[in-house]
């Protein structure tokens, strides 16, 4: 059995199975977890600027943390949840990729604590960008009520 210790390898191609018993670390993982707080009746339309960041690595973060540009090719898992506030209009928040709607969360205008969610999975290239866009209605936007997360899973 061969043993490698304290080595540097350029590239690895494993033709069979691989079982890792310890931990795996990446020097530049692609992870974002953020939210927006302070406005309980959020009506501004457009990309949401997240003012709290819990995990932030591996993206080019732009426009007051409203645009997250991918640096590495891969499969990305994107999820969002929020609470829509009671109001005249149904809330709509959308996961955008490169400015186009991919997944939409809608909240019932009659509910005070109507929770909504949107989840999306997409292969992305370096330079592709992700936004969480509010288009309609009123969101109950305290820190605990919304989270926007992106993870490169492959």
């Amino acid at each position: 059995m061969a043993n490698l210790k304290n080595s540097t390898i350029e590239s690895v191609n494993i033709s069979g199975n691989l079982e890792v018993l310890g931990t795996i670390s990446q020097s530049s993982p692609s992870l974002i977890s953020a939210d927006y707080s302070s406005n309980t009746s959020y009506t501004a339309t457009g990309p949401i600027s997240h003012n709290n960041s819990y995990v932030e690595s591996g993206f080019n973060v732009e426009n007051s943390r409203s645009r997250f540009t991918v640096l590495e090719e891969g499969l990305y898992y994107i999820c969002w949840h929020n609470i829509s506030n009671s109001g005249a209009n149904t809330t709509r928040t959308r996961i955008y990729v490169n400015g186009s709607n991919r997944s939409q969360a809608r909240g019932d205008a009659s509910g005070t604590y109507s929770m909504v969610t949107a989840i999306h999975l997409e292969y992305l290239q370096p330079g592709d960008y992700i936004e969480m866009v509010h288009t309609n209605g009123t969101i109950y936007m305290t820190s605990q009520y919304n989270d926007f997360s992106i993870q490169r899973i492959l």
Binding site: M1, A2, S7, M115
Partner: protein, 158 residues
Amino acid sequence: MADLQTTTIENTDILNDFEISDNFSRPNLPLICVSKDNGGGCFSSTGPVPFNKVIVDNGTIARSNNNSRFTVPEDGVYFVHFWTIGHNNCGSTGRIYLRVNGSRTSQARSDSSIRYGNAFAYRMFNLSAGDYLDAQLGAGAMYFNFVGYNRFTIYKAL
């Protein structure tokens, strides 16, 4: 290019691509998925939810306090998901908090006016070995009617 059949690797950096043509397993990846089965109806006991159904548990994340507290074994970024269903018969709006070491973070709410209103929260956390997570019912009630109506999931994202 060197061909290696069965190899033990220790403290080795891979600078570029890493490709596996068959299966990839990480039996020790910290993860757990549990549920609360209330045996019907609403659950209204405030405090950390004592989960009584295991969906997935590979033994890496320690369960304690009647399966209400989950302690992570190593440093890293953890993705935490909670989802459940509320019910208008449960009375006031239910509030579930994702907590880290007892501090409230993200919150899932069920609207008391909705018959089957869903409530959920997802967030990533930078945690250290020994930090613990729970899902605290802070107020109201949730419809933990059976095992299929809720999930509390933790896994190490990195």
